[in-house]
Amino acid sequence: MRINESSKDGVVILTLSGKMMLDGKSASLHDYVKNLIKESKTKVVIDMGKITWFGSTGLGALLASYTSLKDNGGDLKVARATRKIQSVFMFTQIIKVLENYESVDEAIAAFK
């Protein structure tokens, strides 16, 4: 999985691509987010439009990132999650805390 960072309106956008599952790299998302927190960047949008596979490792990395940001006064929003990822969010009730937005811009606007 690759992580590409950009920012807009004071919000960090992490664009993920590839497989978010058991490749030993997905956990790096949480490390990446922890480093953002150290830099006081606590408003984060994760763009999941280029994720080709999402499993329990990806789910764990996403939830750990969400919890860390919340614990530090920030928030995490998800954009462009695929139908399969949205199904996982729905079945696991994660949709209660992690709302998916159709575009990155909509997710950024939700911080305002």
Partner: protein, 143 residues
């Protein structure tokens, strides 16, 4: 259903082989299920189970790292995932909640809760020779 029955048994040794089997797994599901969301859910649960099998399994002589059997019956799709190695940590809980389980995640252990959340039934059998058998089942709402 006049078309040829899809492949049911898969002998897998790597993530790449699982990826190559994806089309056949989806074809099996679609043969019996015309609900795209249900097919997605079953596919994800099967992949999660197989990934767990690869991750924690050991290669045995003349055995594949992971054996996957797909069965249809009683309006359900059942997947049996077999591997050899470390015993799975299967929580006895049948249902999981966002607050008590998923948000408590720190380091691993979400595989079985995720599968249990996606599927209607998950049974785990620890057999002789360090054999693990995970049987996951989903009732279909169509056909």
């Amino acid at each position: 259903m006049s078309e040829q029955k899809p492949k049911q048994n898969f002998y897998l040794n790597s993530f790449n082989e699982l990826e190559l089997a994806r089309k056949s797994i989806i074809k099996f599901c679609r043969f019996y299920c015309n609900n795209d969301e249900e097919v997605d859910i079953i596919e994800m649960a099967i992949f999660e189970a197989c990934h767990n099998a690869f991750r924690y399994g050991n290669k045995r002589k003349n055995k594949s790292l992971c054996e996957l059997r797909l069965i249809y019956g009683n309006q359900s799709i059942k997947a049996i995932v077999i591997n050899y190695g470390k015993e799975f940590e299967v929580k006895e809980k049948e249902s999981f909640s966002i607050e008590q389980d998923f948000l408590q995640y720190r380091n691993g252990g979400l595989g079985i809760p995720l599968i249990k959340t996606l599927m209607d039934s998950v049974k785990y059998l620890r057999k002789s020779n360090n054999m693990n058998e995970l049987i996951i089942e989903k009732k279909l709402t169509n056909k």
